[in-house]
Symmetry: D3
Subunit: 245 residues, 6 copies
């Protein structure tokens, strides 16, 4: 692999974009975080509601779920409004299922009690990596919602288990790179989203060859980059939350 | 009418909230304005597309339309996502029809040529007056989109006719007030949205008695307040656009 | 303003069309009224059902709501059947929300008890003013439904508060006119629907400039016409109901 | 079979209800007929549109189709509005397919040219037999639409082939009866709808045992009743159309 | 009628296709039958669920219903997937209503108790007669589901009343024939589906003239063919079920 | 890791279930394959249609896409029919997007010309691994459809690039195993679907920790198992297609 790839952004292959996590971005949600991975901006609002979905009733546990949407002009060309088309597309459903699964790894649902936390991830501006930004920012909003439940004495224990973060990696012009922006993502040979746990280990790995195939060696090189970026993401989350490291 | 109403916000009856218009809020849309009426924040993105709807083809004119949405947690309690429910509600459709009609008063469609400008008004945070903020901010985004078409030499003349702005007025505890916030709106006896033209005159008036009725005198008192606030709104729009007054 | 406008129908500017209210038009509904404003014919059926919508349960009050529809060939050219298209359009939803709000001004919901009255307004033939005819006729059907509840001793007090009627007004070729028919409505500069209460006062005012703007003076001239026609509509409603004036 | 059945309406087993066919019931449709089978009232509007569905284009023929709907309170208890529920039910779709097939037997589609005639059958009041009334009245509306095309010289030949009429028959308390009203229909052992051609012969037969089964002898007894009533229906159609017999 | 019709398949006019009923075709359903009428193959799965639809609750009876679907490429050309189009078509709804009604004639719903049996009929390969095959095979699956309820001692009595079978008949080139395959069905003058009860008698008759009309004599000739084939179908069902005749 | 896991099926950790590929399973589709991974049975029908989706027109290339469905009683308990619910669920959309992406790796779309091949994967019986079976069987059906196009001389070159196959792997009770059946899948700690190319390399990797996390070592152990099973799957595909190895 060529170590001298020039990324259009001037970044090194192992260099993520600038990450920003702004808490209390809006005032109604129990947790509200604007997450920015460079020019990708996603508003993550965590809402607490008493009760759980029907299929969980009476099981003495809570639920964490996510919904994802993109403002029609978050992208280069205007996409139709899903509400106007009358349904969420396959891509949207796939992403919100991924976000929900990932965030549940952050929480002990038994300790959450019969509350549902819904994390709405709405993309204000898109430049690649909206799902990984959503997971990373959504986790911070989720924790703020849990802290609200504790502060209001609605729950006793602490359902928070660990931070979860996510980053994309890929093979661009033969070189493994981290945190692809939209032009890189469009031209990548392979694209992979990795969800990581703060205590170590992988929660989800989704790699797709867009052209040709990828090798085991490339897979491992991409995972190396993701793990390195993950440490950085956990640090950003901790700093935003004021958690001592 | 009692002249000494204490508004919960401390505002005088004829005092609108602080207005802010931030242009170029996102980077993809041809016009992108964040409009704030106090705590009400709406992102207005104007998108230019070549071509017109089927029923206008071959008529040598353009089209301006609007869509409206609210992020699920823009409000005190989470509202269901319209895309997930599979349809836009009656309130949403009613509002986006109003915004579209109002913005068309700003433009000479013949001079626009066969282009469609869609103004997406997405409510990031709601505190009353989202439709009037949408019209006021959407008009600025629309003008930026028209300026884009001129700058790119896609059109020759200037389809911009005049500014359009909007404000809500109402009767709260018997007193006419302007620019109601959510608590005032919820408790108002009468609620009215007024859309005004920069050159003078009314574009739309929608008044509703929420409890009882309202008199002709009250209607006129409300319109007096709206007109006064309108002058202020036009000044804000001009300043944001850098138009000399 | 020119006082000598020739209306295509030969009517004076302040002359509504012939109004007819036929009670007991169909035999199943608790209230069934065919309302005719000239060639506009709307069947208003009021149906009584025990119970209230979920969000009103346990509040010891009733509910009044409306639905609106147009037979596919009520108009000059056939419109698609909304049931076949799979959704009600924005115009339909907007109109039925207006009718429902207006009719609720007629009723003391506390005295109605836990009953829901749904007023279905189905346009058999359209020639302008279908929403104002629906409100005017729907109010009579609503009262018949209330009388049914009293006659059957399902409620004790009298929830009927006052009559509600509605008429359209507009500016056609610069002249304020009342009760526009379809050709006038299509060519009007300004179109306004006014909902009035029998005890005096306005319930709803919705004015829209179709071309240009309208002035405060024009607004007041239109409201003068509406109030004059309102007196006539209340008289028709009272006569149809056999209420001594 | 007991020859002495007392029908609740006092009719003889072979006696249909009073039939009325009122042409030009509304003024916009090319054919507009109110058909009444006793208390069952259906408005049949035939609309002419240039062009044919996509799958018939270029085949030098026309198309005849039907849509069916029921006003929400046409029945004893209010049924939900199909437009509000977002889809037409199975019963509705089944009935409108039947009406369309039946009416096409009336017309030479080749001679109709590239026009589509849509017959909307909307039930104003229901008391059993809405589909048979729709076919019988719809056929008259269809012919009026054809006569319009001829009068306007949009077509040259005469696509009208023959009248089509329909009546229900059934076995009630063991006795074959014709033209069942709603109470009879609800309690019938067997219910059958028969569509007949003016030149003789059957177009459609749909018989259903609601309880138990029916025998070949019963089937034939019912068809005898239908044929007898059919002669009467054709006479009513001819009289309504002013066709000399 | 010409007795010497050559059927494309070489069959005699009164000769059905080869019938096969394979029980236990899949392993999860309480009753699972693959029914083949020649090249028409339908998988009929009967599923038992505790409880009944809302409108039957508390009436101490069970319910039997059916759903029908066709795999997209069961036919000569691919048909769109109904799940992807977002609704079941009119033909589908009509067929599944027919199957449900027919199968209920097989069962004493009172003796079934508060269980619902849903018979899913999914067409794997279509060559005409899919609805008649569905009824014939669905009845066997239904009985297996009833036997499951008895074997598991969930019900006490025997709700099985009688077998129900179905076959299509038609007039092809003037000759009455039984069990039409797709080419015959497409070219038939008249097409009729007949549902028969094991104890004798008809459950449903649906005859449609595709071109012209059919006479009473033709109707009776078709019914003769159906009854003859019915005896054969009952024998196949009994043999499949191991019921001594 | 414990090397002595007892799988409920008695299989060794690295032992896939019995694979069967039956070509020409139905007669209408250009490619029709029943694929069985043990008790999981999926019918894969590949349909050829002239033309490409709108967004590919004029680009001189073809398209390969997939749709996925599950018969309502393919599973232990009956699942609602997606066509009846009016939409495909998120899981369905996610799976059919995966199948489509995977199969496109098999084909040179430029050489396919302006044809669309749709591979319908309908699950007749489910026991875990329906998506991996769909990809493996769908690839064989796709190749049969390509061979049809060549045989009929509709295309000149050979768009077939290479076989694609897929298998699931997971961590069950701490042990990496291949080709999980439903009970294993339900209880797995980690579940991963791997799509492989015949020429070597990975096309898609989707691994999810259902409980806790998985390590890089576990990921690599699972991939080892998948690669071993992949060789076996390619052999089965070649044998079914009669391709000499």
């Amino acid at each position: 692999m060529a170590s001298d790839l020039k990324r259009s952004s001037g970044r090194r292959p192992d260099q993520p974009r600038e990450i920003r996590l702004t808490r209390d971005y809006t005032r109604h949600a129990e947790g509200s975080v604007l997450v920015e991975f460079g020019d990708t901006k996603v508003l993550c609002n965590a809402s607490v509601e008493a009760g759980v979905p029907r299929w969980l009733r009476g099981k003495s546990q809570g639920w964490v779920t996510a919904e994802y949407g993109m403002l029609p002009r978050a992208t280069h060309t205007r996409g139709g409004r899903e509400a106007a088309r009358g349904k969420q597309g396959g891509r949207t459903l796939e992403i919100q299922r991924l976000i929900g699964r990932s965030l549940r790894a952050s929480v002990n649902l038994k300790k959450l009690g019969e509350f549902t936390i819904t994390v709405d991830c709405d993309v204000i501006q898109a430049d690649g990596g909206t799902r990984t930004a959503s997971i990373t920012g959504g986790c911070v909003a989720l924790i703020d919602a849990i802290r609200y439940l504790q502060r209001e004495k609605k729950i006793k224990g602490d359902p928070f288990e660990q931070l979860v973060s996510s980053v994309s990696v890929g093979i661009v012009k033969g070189v493994p790179v981290v945190d692809l922006d939209y032009p890189e993502d469009s031209g990548a040979d392979t694209d992979m989203n990795v969800v990581m746990a703060q205590k170590g280990g992988l929660i989800e790995v989704q790699g797709t060859a867009e052209a040709g195939t990828f090798s085991r060696a490339e897979l491992n090189a991409m995972l190396d980059l993701a793990e390195k970026a993950g440490a950085d993401l956990f640090a950003h989350q901790q700093e935003a939350l004021g958690i001592r490291r």
